[in-house]
């Protein structure tokens, strides 16, 4: 097994003030797509209570969590295997960590995306992807561009084509307050 890192995986973050972990089957989500949103809303409701403007915080947290859940479901190679999402409020950041089993094709897409995310002008990346007719990868790009999220992924190669992907998203808590 080999492990490699894409993007920025956080080192030491402030201790968790509030944390929740949910495990689900991608198959359940594929059968009833609305379950992605239900999980995202649940996580958002749970964490949003920690913030001064819970309705606003809930909206942002639900949007971010939903993108991550949808991505994990779409790119789960074995739909019966579990997806785990751990969400925590850590002082001035919220961290979301999503783990699933994917495949090499998806990892290659992630590599291209992280190359784009390393560019300074993410608005230009958005325009270029839309103008090129690219339909995938926009969700993670928008989390970085619009919500100031820092994104990283740890990819562990397993047998044959299977890749264990753990996506780390660190969202500044200031994004959960309306300016």
């Amino acid at each position: 097994m080999t492990s490699r890192t894409l993007g920025v995986v956080p080192g030491t973050l402030p201790p968790a003030l509030t944390a929740i972990e949910v495990q689900m089957s991608a198959l359940d989500m594929v059968v009833q797509w609305r379950r992605c949103g239900i999980v995202a809303d649940y996580l958002a409701d749970y964490l949003a209570l920690s913030f001064e403007q819970p309705d606003y915080a809930r909206s942002v947290l639900s949007t971010v969590a939903n993108e991550l859940v949808e991505n994990a479901v779409r790119f789960s190679a074995e739909k019966a295997r579990p997806i785990r999402i751990h969400a925590s409020h850590r002082g001035d950041v919220v961290e979301l960590v999503v783990s699933n089993l994917s495949n090499q094709r998806h990892v290659e897409g992630l590599e291209k995306l992280f190359l784009d995310l390393s560019r300074d002008d993410l608005a230009a990346v958005f325009r270029e992807r839309v103008e090129a007719g690219t339909r995938g990868g926009l969700g993670l790009l928008l989390l970085a561009k619009d919500y100031g999220a820092e994104l990283g992924a740890v990819v562990v190669s397993q047998e044959t084509d299977t890749r264990a992907v753990t996506m780390h998203v660190v969202l500044p808590a200031k994004e959960l307050v309306q300016s």
């Binding site: 797509w33 606003y56 942002v60 639900s62 949007t63 325009r127 839309v130 926009l138 928008l142």
Partner: protein, 110 residues
């Protein structure tokens, strides 16, 4: 039951979106947004309005689909207006991205 609704009949050259838009794929949005695309093409140079104010949440496939509508308007050099609420985070953020795609996109914040 859908969590969302699109009204293209109530007001001329206007689509009003309401609810939670988390459709499962870009293709699902192609179908859902087909009446908006038809209205946009019919409106032509006089312009089309997409009212998002009551769309509480939208996933990135939906934002991508809105971007496709903007690109259709851009290719035809026709104006598009988006109506949004400043208090809804996804609307404010997504519309800044859509504005950057076409000089004839106008955003009206309620």
């Amino acid at each position: 039951m859908n969590e969302w609704h699109i009204d293209t009949e109530g007001k001329t050259a206007t689509a009003t979106l309401r609810g939670v838009f988390r459709l499962e794929s870009p293709e699902a949005y192609d179908t859902a947004f087909a009446p908006i695309l038809a209205g946009l093409k019919t409106a032509g140079a006089s312009g089309y309005t997409v009212n998002l104010a009551e769309a509480t949440l939208m996933n990135s496939s939906g934002i991508r689909a809105l971007a496709d509508l903007v690109m259709v308007a851009r290719r035809a050099d026709h104006p598009v207006t988006f109506v949004a609420k400043g208090s809804v985070p996804w609307q404010r953020k997504a519309l800044a991205s859509l504005e950057s795609l076409h000089s004839k996109v106008t955003v009206s914040i309620l």
